[in-house]
């Protein structure tokens, strides 16, 4: 674990797309999906790309896997330039980028694997052996000889994963591979990923699930609005918050209560995620949760608020994201505070 096996320097990507607004003329709109990204992934690590929807994760992966050309910058995968030695790059990687897509529905799982094996130039005997191996490893024998059109989406997903392993490449790109899997299947997939890594494969894994990144990744880059805003081991990232603690509250909190809480000296940040039925969750970042607890309780009691639960929380990568952006990663996010307004600006 020393050499960078993936290296990106100043990668940027700008999409031009037509914007259609009601009552207005169509016009071209620029989307800056990546803004000068520098990145090094070391040989043998599981590297996590973590970020909310639209952060630029897929765009970055598509560029590194030669599907898209960058607008600016350059990158090397396995020592090969992604723009000048595309075929060598492709031969060095296995990819699962589009969830359960990318399979032929009228072919069986096995025929799909064999087909893609041939397209990766895997010699026939090796191909047959590797497919048998994958069938055993991923427990595919129940459905591998049926046509893909008969699969459940989870089954398609796992065959798509098998496809990424058919050329047994040293580097694996996985773009939210667990996104439609049930919990046990996702856990099993993570276990296999870990196992493949133990046997020497380098893995670049994108997810918007913090716990997944924490569980799996040696190092994590947090990406937001096309920029890497934090990078390091999960431990380092959490330690970077210093001696900050998080107190988590659940209940009903009017905006006035939240403002009052923010005004309490020693409170650094309050992130609000709205839940259904008017309840919400507050993550209060403070310097010392034990000392601050009485003052937090005082600030949130009365005046129409109801506290249902209050507990000091272990710092997670989610909190790192909150600290850097003022937003949470959850989908229903209501943002409070000046920092957050700036975060939204991009």
């Amino acid at each position: 674990m020393a050499e960078p096996i993936i290296r990106a320097e100043g990668l940027s990507k700008t999409f031009l797309s037509k914007e259609r607004k009601k009552g207005e003329k169509k016009r071209k709109k620029e989307v800056h999906a990546l803004k000068s990204v520098d990145l090094e992934v070391l040989d043998g690590e599981v590297f996590g790309l973590l970020g909310p929807n639209g952060a630029g994760k897929t765009t970055l992966i598509k560029i590194l896997t030669t599907l898209l050309l960058p607008t600016g910058g350059s990158a090397w995968v396995n020592g090969y330039s992604i723009t000048k030695e595309e075929d060598e790059v492709r031969a060095s990687i296995g990819c699962m980028l589009m969830g359960d897509r990318g399979l032929y529905w009228k072919l069986t799982g096995r025929e799909n694997l064999d087909y893609f094996g041939a397209l990766y130039h895997v010699p026939r005997p090796d191909r047959a052996k590797q497919i048998e191996h994958l069938i055993a490893l991923l427990k595919l024998d129940d459905f591998i000889d049926r046509t893909v059109e008969t699969y459940s989406s989870g089954q398609r997903m796992i065959v798509a994963f098998a496809k990424s392993l058919v050329n047994d490449a040293p580097i694996l790109f996985l773009d939210e591979p667990t996104v439609t899997m049930d919990v046990p299947t996702a856990r099993e997939l993570r276990r296999i990923v870990k196992d493949l890594n133990d046997h020497g494969k380098t893995i670049l894994y994108t997810t918007h699930l913090m716990h997944e990144a924490e569980e799996l990744c040696d190092r994590v880059a947090i990406i937001d609005h096309g920029e890497i805003i934090a990078l390091g081991t999960p431990r380092e990232l959490k330690d970077s918050l210093g001696h900050e603690d998080v107190v988590s509250l659940e209940g009903i909190f009017p905006d006035a209560t939240v403002s009052r809480l923010r005004a309490v000296p020693g409170v650094l940040e309050v992130a609000v995620s709205a839940e259904d039925d008017g309840r919400s969750k507050l993550d209060v970042m403070v310097e010392n949760s034990r000392a601050m607890l009485p003052r937090i309780i005082e600030a949130v009691t009365g005046q129409g608020s109801t506290v249902e639960e209050i507990r000091p929380k272990e710092i997670t990568l989610e909190d790192v994201f909150v600290a850097k952006t003022g937003r949470t990663l959850a989908v229903d996010t209501r943002v409070v505070g000046e920092k957050a307004v700036r975060g939204r600006g991009g």
């Binding site: 999409f15 031009l16 598509k62 896997t65 030669t66 599907l67 898209l68 050309l69 090969y80 030695e85 595309e86 075929d87 060598e88 790059v89 492709r90 031969a91 060095s92 990687i93 990819c95 980028l97 589009m98 897509r101 990318g102 399979l103 032929y104 529905w105 009228k106 072919l107 025929e111 064999d114 087909y115 893609f116 094996g117 041939a118 397209l119 990766y120 130039h121 895997v122 010699p123 026939r124 090796d126 191909r127 590797q130 191996h133 490893l137 046509t147 496809k163 392993l165 050329n167 047994d168 490449a169 040293p170 196992d195 493949l196 133990d198 046997h199 020497g200 494969k201």
Partner: protein, 298 residues
């Protein structure tokens, strides 16, 4: 377990001849497997040209008052005499069959690109180190077989239904012209494939072009009936050449292009020039698409 030792992969960036042949063969076989899983597709599409030929045959008989009259008028207008009603039918049948081959090519390659986009397999293809040339070679070999089978089935069906005997004429030479005409059709369909990759509304474009094609290649008539400018354009169009070569050979009538060696020469030129241009255009489009949206967008 694959990784008992640290694995560095099986894949090759630069394949040898064996691996390359493996790509062509795998693509070819996969396409063939897929079509055989759509029951009856090949047979059904072979019925279409028979219906297509039926239209002008019946219309001709109705307008001219009898089929022999139709044949006399038709061939006289197009510059030959002493032709039978069977020749008239064969003329229409061959035109329709050739048209079917042309549209088959357009759909099989042009529409292939869109299908692969929809299923996400186009991106999957672009993730492999397989060369575009080898993948397209696999696809075109498949379309070649498909077209040949469809043409023969349609000819047999049509011969039985319309009571004509294509073997009376120079049938083998006609099939040879069909085979020789197919590479140019590949070239055109590469243009189509490239357009499909870029244009979102590809289906309607192909639909439209298919009928423009039918018109321009003279399905039911020699293009000499066109006004001058249109005729020049139509004659410069490879399917017209192929259609004319097949029909004139089979029926033993004069080609609109001139003596047989001119026809053969033109066919030979088209057979390598058009695919070459189409292939270059495909590659060029592909690079452009990768520069902006990516090949998976449609």
């Amino acid at each position: 377990m694959a990784g008992e030792t640290v694995s560095r992969g099986f894949g090759l960036g630069r394949p040898g001849p064996r691996a390359s042949a493996g790509v062509v063969w795998s693509v070819f076989r996969a396409r063939l497997k897929i079509i055989t899983r759509y029951k009856g597709a090949v047979f059904l599409e072979s019925i279409i040209p028979v219906i297509f030929a039926g239209l002008p045959i019946l219309l001709g008989a109705a307008v001219a008052g009898g089929e022999q009259n139709a044949a006399n008028n038709f061939f006289a207008y197009t510059g030959t005499t002493g032709r039978t009603a069977a020749d008239f039918r064969l003329y229409m049948l061959m035109g329709s069959n050739t048209f079917m081959v042309v549209t088959l090519m357009l759909w099989l390659i042009g529409y292939w690109v869109r299908r692969e986009q929809e299923t996400g397999t186009l991106e999957a293809l672009y993730l492999t180190p397989a060369k575009r040339f080898h993948v397209l070679a696999g696809v075109t070999s498949y379309t070649f077989i498909r077209a040949l089978i469809a043409f023969l089935v349609a000819t047999v069906l049509g011969a039985l239904l319309f009571n004509v005997n294509p073997l009376e004429g120079n049938f083998l030479a006609a099939v040879a012209y069909l085979v020789l005409g197919i590479p140019a059709l590949w070239g055109i369909s590469f243009f189509f494939g490239a357009l499909v990759m870029r244009i979102k509304e590809a289906n309607s474009v192909i639909q439209l072009l298919q009928w423009v094609l039918a018109f321009a290649m003279g399905v039911y008539f020699p293009v000499t009936v066109f006004p001058f400018l249109l005729r020049v354009v139509a004659m410069g169009f490879p399917p017209t050449l192929m259609n004319d070569a097949i029909r004139s050979t089979l029926l033993g009538i004069a080609s609109i292009y001139g003596p047989w060696y001119v026809v053969l020469g033109l066919m030979l030129i088209a057979a390598w020039l058009v695919p070459l241009l189409g292939y270059e255009f495909f590659g060029w489009t592909e690079r452009r698409v990768k520069r902006d949206q990516g090949v998976g967008q449609f």
